[in-house]
């Protein structure tokens, strides 16, 4: 393992309600790179994303998570966020009674940023327009009545506002039509351009990767990291699926 890793997992195992989901995961993501995490349904990819972000539903049973040179294994999600981690949710929650704008402002204020409300309004409106979002959505209750595409745009909006050091995108492309997919791709590109961001993309759909230079691909099966390689692995998996990886795990 290189010393320049932004994220490093060593022997990470996690369980939910005493059922072991992740088994001794070792992997790392260096600063500024784009990594892709692939695997069949139920492989534990989303679980890994949530465990990295500190979801209290999961118990870490062994191993550690290092981020930006510090051990964050015991940190709460808010502390991980403030340290520069971001998780784009596969199914963002709805929060009735909270306008999207109130939430975004609380998010900015939570980082100790002093921004005048007028400036905040300008910024959010400009970002919404960049992502082809009707600014009227800013006045709507967070996620309530939003389509799948709109919810994912809101995730991208937060990514661009927070400019985290590492963004974990959990199936951000799932269920999107071509137009929404293009907007999400634009969000990812902007994030990369504006802050040399590091990406860990959990996906089934390789279309979202077309405009990105992927540095590394990791393959998960049954809660284990079973392979890694260059971007060429994506084409191979596209053509042959995960069968040989699943077979190898079954033999083990």
């Amino acid at each position: 393992m290189s010393n320049g890793a932004l994220l490093r997992c060593c022997g990470l195992s996690a369980a939910v309600e005493e059922k072991q989901i992740l088994h001794e995961i070792d992997f790392e993501v260096p600063q500024g790179e784009v990594h892709v995490l692939m695997g069949p349904n139920g492989a534990g990819k989303s679980t890994l994303g949530h465990v990295l972000m500190g979801d209290p539903v999961y118990d870490i049973t062994a191993g550690s998570i290092e981020f930006d040179g510090a051990d964050i294994t015991e940190l709460t999600p808010d502390k991980r966020s403030l340290a520069g981690m971001f998780l784009s949710f596969q199914a963002p929650v709805e929060i009735p009674g909270v306008p999207l704008r109130s939430f975004l402002r609380a998010m900015v204020e939570g980082r100790g940023e002093k921004m005048k409300n007028k400036e905040f309004r300008k910024q959010t409106k400009a970002l919404a327009e960049t992502l082809d979002m009707d600014p009227a959505y800013l006045d709507r209750e967070l996620g309530v009545g939003f389509s799948g595409g709109e919810k994912k745009k809101v995730e991208m909006l937060q990514l661009l506002m927070l400019k985290p050091k590492l963004a974990i995108l959990d199936e951000t492309d799932s269920g999107l039509d071509v137009d929404a997919l293009s907007v999400v791709s634009r969000g990812m590109e902007l994030y990369r351009e504006q802050c040399d961001g590091t990406l860990l993309i959990i996906t089934h759909n390789t279309r979202i990767l077309e405009h990105l230079n992927v540095d590394r691909v990791h393959v998960m099966v049954a809660g284990r990291m079973v392979a890694y390689g260059t971007a060429s692995l994506i084409e191979e998996i596209d053509a042959q699926g995960f069968e040989r990886y699943e077979a190898a795990v079954a033999i083990d």
Binding site: M53, G54, D55, P56, V57, T76, P77, D78, R80, S81, L82, F86, L87, F89, P92, V93, I95, P96, G97, V98, P99, R101, S102, F103, R105, A106, M107, G110, R111, K116, N117, K118, F120, R121, K122, K125, D139, E141, Q158, L162
Partner: protein
């Protein structure tokens, strides 16, 4: 004219002695001595919509006549059969079924066959009478058959006064009325220390005739030191629909009461209440809806946030009276408790004296759900910051949803007092 001290007891009382034993019926509204009766009320309505002072009584009398034609009084023979049935029932069951005080009154109301007797005020007759006295001349908004009327009433809170409005809404058949009531702080007195005292209030009577639609929004954005009384009584005829939206954000004490008679077939009343309790605020809310009409519908929805040492009592009673076949009533409340020092009481009551009806209630009381909390914390908010966000959000949402500029301005002024810089969020041209 200055007031003597007035105590309005048994306000917003629940319909059974049990609730008295459980301290749910201890609501007392105190009007301190020395306040001036001085309504500061601005009314904006089309001249053509000004109705006569007795318009409401006339409309109810006409409805009484129509109702009696459709519901003839029982014959002497039917009454005798009923008496026999009740006597037999009394003999068969240890001397009969015990009746609560509520049931006795409710039976008397039904037996009176009078729509006027059945018409109730949410906070109670005593409070309604006081507000009528304090308000002086009634504001009467009337929509002729098939017409639409938009009206606005702004009640300003003036320190040292009782500022009240008495409003009647008469929506004739097939008409539509949109009424916005704004109860706002006195701009000159805002931020004064010590907080000035005063009372604001509205007592509203609504008559919605066949097929009429009435929408009422009441936005209350008072400073601390003020007590607000919000009293409403509703009558809905066949296919009439009444929507009420109440936003309760400020003041030191708030007494909100709404009673409704769903008299007509397929009549409908929806009530949506948003409230914020903070500091030492006291909120008292009472809803009582009586279904008489077959296939009538009601839905009571309340969403609130309690912080600091605020206390809140909400009573919601849905009474499915004999004859309302196919009626459905539902009540639901979601309360977020931000601080340990808050007091929350929620009492849903569903009374049923008819088959083939549905009554549902639900309440979600507590903290943010786990999956919501993880989402918010993953964005850098601590649990405490996340819960504080809900306090700010309820004011912001009220400004966004405000039905008109007067309501929006009142909410934004309150938001600015609570969190300087709030007004910038709503400046034009950004």
């Amino acid at each position: 004219m200055q007031t003597s001290a007035v105590t309005i007891g048994r306000a917003s009382a629940m319909p059974a002695p049990t609730w008295h034993f459980l301290n749910m019926n201890d609501t007392v509204i105190e009007v301190p001595a020395g306040l001036a009766i001085s309504p500061s009320v601005k009314v904006s309505e089309p001249y053509s919509a000004k109705g006569a002072a007795d318009e409401f009584e006339n409309a109810l009398a006409d409805a009484q006549e129509a109702w009696e034609q459709d519901h003839p009084a029982p014959t002497a023979e039917e009454l005798a059969t009923r008496e026999e049935f009740l006597a037999a029932e009394a003999d068969a069951t240890y001397g009969g079924t015990a009746q609560s005080a509520y049931q006795v009154v409710a039976d008397a109301i039904e037996e009176s066959r009078s729509l006027a007797v059945a018409f109730e005020h949410g906070v109670g007759d005593e409070a309604a009478a006081y507000l009528r006295y304090a308000a002086g001349e009634r504001v009467v908004v009337q929509a002729d058959p098939g017409k639409q009327v938009d009206a606005q009433v702004v009640v300003a809170a003036v320190p040292g006064t009782v500022s009240a409005a008495a409003i009647d809404v008469i929506a004739d058949a097939g008409s539509s009325v949109n009424l916005s009531i704004v109860v706002e702080a006195d701009a000159d007195a805002s931020g004064q220390a010590p907080q000035p005292e005063g009372i604001t209030g509205t007592t509203v009577r609504v008559f919605a005739d066949d097929g009429a639609q009435v929408s009422i929004t009441r936005t209350q954005a008072l400073d601390e030191g003020f007590t607000d009384i919000d009293d409403t009584g509703l009558f809905a005829a066949d296919d009439a629909r009444i929507d009420v939206r109440q936003t309760i954000l400020g003041g030191s004490a708030t007494f909100t009461g709404l009673a409704g008679d769903l008299r007509g077939d397929s009549s409908r009343i929806d009530v949506d209440t948003r409230y914020l309790g903070h500091s030492d605020r006291k909120l008292d809310l009472n809803y009582s809806l009586r279904h008489h009409g077959p296939k009538s519908r009601c839905n009571l929805q309340a969403n609130g946030v309690l912080a600091g040492r605020a206390s809140k009592t909400l009573r919601g009673t849905i009474d499915l009276v004999r004859g309302c076949k196919g009626a459905e009533g539902a009540e639901n409340e979601t309360v977020l408790l931000v601080d340990e020092g808050v007091h929350n009481k929620t009492v849903p009551v569903i009374l049923c004296n008819e088959d083939d009806v549905a009554g549902n209630h639900g309440a979600t009381i507590g903290h943010i759900r786990d999956e919501q909390l993880f989402y918010l914390t993953s964005r850098g908010l601590s649990q405490e910051a996340a819960e504080r966000m809900f306090v700010a959000a309820i004011v912001e949402q009220a400004a966004i949803d405000a039905p008109d500029e007067a309501a929006k301005d009142a909410v934004v002024r309150l938001g600015e007092r609570l969190a300087p810089g709030f007004a910038e969020l709503f400046e034009e041209g950004v």
